[in-house]
């Protein structure tokens, strides 16, 4: 685009571009900061988008850029695809979509490095730094690409959510990563050896697969967050290849922020990052391991029975969990709640921070069904209220109400704060069986004296309850 500019300002162009890059950086920094708190998050995202716009527009004036066909074509195609995906996807599939986008970002960084290598006529025109940077972008970018797609597959069910692993896989993965770093060093030393480049690319793609496959499906949000951090680093490395400030700064920013966020997410689940990556937790112990205690006593309830209980209650709390998302029961839950409210029953929702399979999963889901925001109470708010609650409806939640988190120091969820539903006069659990949840531990709540089970798919059970309420 620089050809359209008058000669006189061409001299100032590189500096001007850098200054605009600085402005874009400021927008990114401000944007991420604002994304930190609920009131300002949306504005933060817009700030970041403006920063991106500035970065892209200014780059078009770069004097090296002389041909615009591919650029226009690429932006139009990519923009349309991105737009479509973002508009059409269901709210409940957000984590999958983020995984896909992230994979594309990683792949793009790897391609930038590779393209730069392929574009330059003289491979020897790269110095050691340039070559090492190329190797690292390809490595991290490619790994992010395949890793993100495995995560996508696990989240959407294409690939088994179970942790697919065998002893020693972790060691092999670590070994392969170290070997790749060695190969990158060797590549910098002998850049004409193009097999080397292909080997690096191949191993990187493979390692992305083998290091995500052994992680349980429910840990995918954490994995995606980590891969997001990687894709930032890959972008920064591509920045070193092109000696481009904006790439370096923004990439490093996202890389570091993503790492911290990953850590915060782990803490919310009361796990450590290395436990997530190497632990092969979740899924393996899944299945139906929990039925072993089938001889214990369980009280069952029916739609009619329950309808009477809740219709004459004065306060009902609904605790949603992953099963609500599986059954897509958010709309019918809202219907039942409205019906109860019209009878004068006070209804609130108790949202555990890690209920569901991604942070904020329940909020997004219930927001979709237009449940008023102020009825959604987080854990600290709702816990004191259970003592005054008549009935708690636990819909497809399991781990987040498991009292073993308080009582069994050897269990995998020990120490996780839970919703104290047993303070209420009665609890009713909606689920299909007595089987375990994500963490794979049996739940004594099911056998408690005050508890009743309402077996079946959550959506169907709630529909039955909804109809029964008409008869009361």
């Amino acid at each position: 685009m620089s050809v359209f500019l008058p000669e006189t300002i061409l001299n100032w162009l590189p500096d001007t571009i850098q200054l605009f890059y600085l402005v874009a950086t400021a927008f990114f920094i401000r944007g991420v900061k604002l994304l930190n708190s609920p009131g300002t998050a949306r504005k933060g995202n817009q700030f970041a988008a403006i920063g991106m716009m500035i970065g892209v527009l200014v780059t078009l004036f770069d004097q090296n850029i002389v041909e615009f066909e591919l650029i226009i074509g690429g932006i139009v195609i990519g923009g349309l695809i991105g737009l479509l995906l973002a508009k059409k996807v269901q709210m409940t599939s957000m984590p999958e979509l983020v995984a896909v986008f992230n994979g594309f970002g990683g792949a793009a960084s790897a391609l930038v490095a590779w393209g730069e290598l392929a574009r330059k006529p003289e491979i020897l025109s790269f110095d050691t730094t340039g070559l090492v940077s190329i190797g690292l972008s390809v490595f991290i970018g490619a790994l992010t690409f395949t890793g993100s797609f495995i995560a996508f597959g696990k989240l959407s069910g294409f690939i088994s959510g179970n942790a697919i692993t065998f002893p020693g896989l972790n060691m092999i993965n670590i070994g392969a990563m170290i070997a790749t770093l060695g190969l990158i060093g060797y590549f910098a030393f002998d850049p004409t050896n193009s097999t080397l480049f292909w080997v690096i690319l191949g191993i990187s793609l493979l390692v992305g697969v083998t290091s995500v496959i052994p992680i349980g499906g429910a840990d995918m949000p954490v994995v995606i967050s980590l891969l997001n951090s990687y894709s930032g680093i890959a972008a920064a490395m591509a920045g070193f290849v092109l000696q481009n400030n904006l790439l370096i700064v923004s990439g490093a920013l996202v890389g570091a922020a993503g790492l911290i966020l990953t850590n915060i997410m782990c803490k919310a689940m009361n796990r450590s990052l290395s436990n997530v990556i190497f632990g092969s937790f979740g899924g393996v112990a899944g299945g139906s391991a929990g039925i072993r205690d089938g001889d214990k006593n369980v009280h069952e309830t029916s739609a009619e029975d329950l309808a009477i209980q809740v219709a004459y209650a004065s306060k009902v709390v609904i605790v949603p969990g992953y099963g609500l998302a599986v059954a897509q029961a958010q709309h019918i839950v809202k219907e039942v709640a409205t019906k109860l409210e019209s009878r004068g029953v006070q209804v609130k929702y108790g949202i555990h921070p890690v209920a569901g399979r991604m942070p904020g999963h329940m909020n997004v889901l219930l927001a979709e069904a237009d449940v008023p925001y102020d009825l959604l109470k987080d854990m600290d708010e709702i816990n004191p209220e259970f003592t005054t609650t008549d009935v708690v409806l636990i819909i497809g939640a399991n781990d987040v109400v498991n009292p073993l988190a308080k009582t069994d120091p050897t269990g995998p969820i020990y120490g996780m704060p839970i919703l104290n539903v047993d303070d209420a006069k009665r609890t009713v659990v909606f689920k299909r069986s007595l089987s375990v949840g994500y963490a794979g531990v049996d739940n004594p709540l099911f056998y408690a004296e005050k508890n009743q089970m309402f077996f079946g798919d959550a959506k169907k059970s709630l529909q039955a309850l909804n109809e029964a309420l008409n008869e009361v």
Binding site: I29, R42, R119, V249
Partner: protein
Amino acid sequence: MEVDLTLLLFIFVLASFIGFELISKVPPTLHTPLMSGANAISGITIVGALIVAGSLGNPLGKWIGFAAIILATINVVGGFMVTDRMLEMFKKKEDEK
């Protein structure tokens, strides 16, 4: 060129420090939007893709750059929009309050 490298390294490290400082106690509800927003920013690699695809050079390299532009643009456009959709949903509900 060598002096530049250390400067670039400085920039990389300083930006990382900022990234570390910026994220503090995010409430769980915001984890997903924050992740998705950060992901959109990492699509900044589009700037690199523009340079690779738009500069002179070997056609193979330029076509690789073209592919990079497509993927990065998907990441950027889709990422920011999807984040906005999520946050809009929270926002709307909060306003009703």
